[in-house]
Symmetry: C2
Subunit: 201 residues, 2 copies
Amino acid sequence: MTGASGVGKDTIRREAVPGLGDLYYSVSATTRAQRPGETDGVQYRFLEVDAFRALIDEGGLLEWAEYVGDFYGTPLEPVEEALAAGRDVLLELELAGARQVKQRLPEAIMVFIAPPSLDELERRLRGRGTDDDAKIAKRLARAREEIRAVREFDYVIVNDDLDRAVRDFEAVVRAERVRANRLLDDQVEDFLREGPDEHDA
Amino acid sequence: MTGASGVGKDTIRREAVPGLGDLYYSVSATTRAQRPGETDGVQYRFLEVDAFRALIDEGGLLEWAEYVGDFYGTPLEPVEEALAAGRDVLLELELAGARQVKQRLPEAIMVFIAPPSLDELERRLRGRGTDDDAKIAKRLARAREEIRAVREFDYVIVNDDLDRAVRDFEAVVRAERVRANRLLDDQVEDFLREGPDEHDA
């Protein structure tokens, strides 16, 4: 899941996840300042720059990127554990991170959350009131760059109507779960199961 | 949408379609006998064998097949009209027909509705009480052949729980509507729309 700051990724995820059954939401590590109301380990795992760099050096990140002066990354171990247990994993990533994950895990499904327009995105960022003008300008420049890469994604959900965007996101996860390429040979054997009263020619 | 007689295709379609907005459900033509409660033009367009053959000769069918002694086919014209109007089209097809459509319309999405097992499918067919033993045996042989081709499909929905199967089918249609490859250049232009207060570097 990729999309600009302010486009509504967090909201869509929070509204959609309860309806999606067993889904592991990966908590990113970041060096950015903790905001009022945020809890370490919930919105992000907040790290000092040195600790973050150590994690990079250990190969402990599935992907990482620097964004508007801060580092963001996905701790590898919990993702590997969830996938090994057969769980779906939801990652919220910047474009650079999404590209790294797609390279390492080609079966990953890339969902882009688009704003109705950059105009509307700017209104939302200003309404949030957490960023100064310079930071908003940087976020909009990044958003523009990400939108230009939209065709690298598998799905594009426009967040012009939150309810519809949430249902579209749920639909993407549900649909991907019934993709034929996820079907196991054992399941096909189940479909073919017959009793002793066989009808083979 | 493909799946054995008795697997629940009709029920899934009837329950799912009202929630899917503008979707054109193609009514197949067939030479099989009209069953009690069926209306010409609703479940099927019922044709005499001669009229069906004339339609084949005119190139008026998107696909057609013979199944258990009867002909089934999809009239081409209403499908072309619906697609030209930008509508999604839902076809309910046997395996041979689904393959013909995929060849002529490679962008078609193939959904397979699988029974929990052939055992359970046989119970449902017997419960329906419309077919004699010989016809049931033929339907099961056909179902077995279709299941063996299941990996040709894009999605596989197991109808072991009707509510879940309906929601999965709705999810597939919703998700396919937000596929990035359906995104128009005009829509990307909309995302990039900015007011006079530009933030270009």
